[in-house]
Symmetry: C2
Subunit: 207 residues, 2 copies
């Protein structure tokens, strides 16, 4: 693709991210996205068949951004495995603070927001978000496999404990958004490791 | 109020609950609510100044319903205090199953849904939901005070542990909705008590 084509498509994706993340999927129309991206409405349908298709592209870009800014640094192996999980909450809170400085409001998890708004209305979006949550859980699971191997959590069941920790993260981000206070992620995150020790092999929570 | 007046207002509230809970706040218009409630649009503005005001009335009715169907039975003192918290997850899953049977989809927490969709867009709704979450946390906190008193969780910090358990509940309901599987609330709920033991007096998570 030439420079202009790439720029036009990218501008539409960035406009969608900014508008939908700051408000909601339903409150943002194609027209408004085009105005913000400085793109003619006719061009929109050259790149995307629908607002949903643009949302899927926006989800992919945001996911890469969250990998680079939160997941990769949090789960890097420069600290012991369980500290990576604690760091996941600290870095998530930092991401929320940075977003709040720009938007003037805690925005929460972009994927959790979309999941609760759209899951009953659009199975394509729901499936994508479900797959993405499983990829997020996989980061936690790998840290827990390392904690099992080095003996720091020798009896943990990594898959079920990872699901518990990630659900707790989504809950913490929901509370932070509702209170408009990013520090809730830090405070709640201090209990996250308790969920790890609860999910031992053959325990009740290993489903 | 006469019977007709009461019925008209109630019908609008019930239509709003059904439509908004099954989809989202933004995707449902006053016109559609009136059609479902079999009410003329002119009458709508006799009872409510705006869709937001109707939503606030719907939140109150749903809150009463959740008290009767989930909170009151879960936190009744016929079982030991910590069992009440486990039961909160079991009864919440049952509520989700019942909703899913009618709606054909897991609907999640009606308040969590609205909080993530509307918190950046409407501070009046956000404040109401924030207050309601604090009331929900208070149920958990009272059970934890009882657990402290009877020695089953003698060193727990009830306020911070209640916040952790409730955030975890919201996260579990978010995952259940995204996976379209109410059983996720049961499975994840099996780890909820771990958050209680993590929040001891003067521990890191007592903010």
């Amino acid at each position: 693709m030439g420079r202009t084509t790439t720029n036009t498509k990218d501008r539409l994706v960035e406009a969608a991210i900014d508008l939908i993340y700051a408000r909601s999927f339903g409150s943002v129309g194609v027209q408004e996205i085009c105005v913000r991206a400085k793109v003619q409405k006719g061009s929109f349908y050259h790149f995307f068949r629908s607002k949903r298709e643009l949302a899927l592209a926006a989800i992919d870009v945001l996911w890469q951004r969250l990998q680079a800014q939160v997941f990769d640094p949090a789960f890097a192996d420069d600290v012991p495995p369980l500290e990576r999980i604690e760091r996941f909450f600290v870095y998530s809170a930092e991401f929320q603070r940075a977003q709040a400085r720009v938007a003037g409001h805690v925005l929460g998890c972009p994927f959790g927001n979309l999941a609760l708004e759209m899951s009953t209305q659009d199975d394509v979006l729901r499936d994508r978000l479900d797959a993405l949550f499983r990829a997020a859980e996989r980061h936690i699971e790998k840290a827990l496999e390392a904690a099992r191997a080095d003996g720091s959590a020798s009896r943990v069941d990594p898959p079920s404990a990872a699901r518990a920790v990630f659900a707790y993260m989504e809950g913490a981000l929901l509370m932070a958004k509702t209170r408009n206070d990013p520090e809730a992620v830090v405070t709640l995150g201090r209990s996250a490791l308790a969920l790890v020790t609860a999910c031992r092999e053959q325990s009740a929570c290993a489903n």
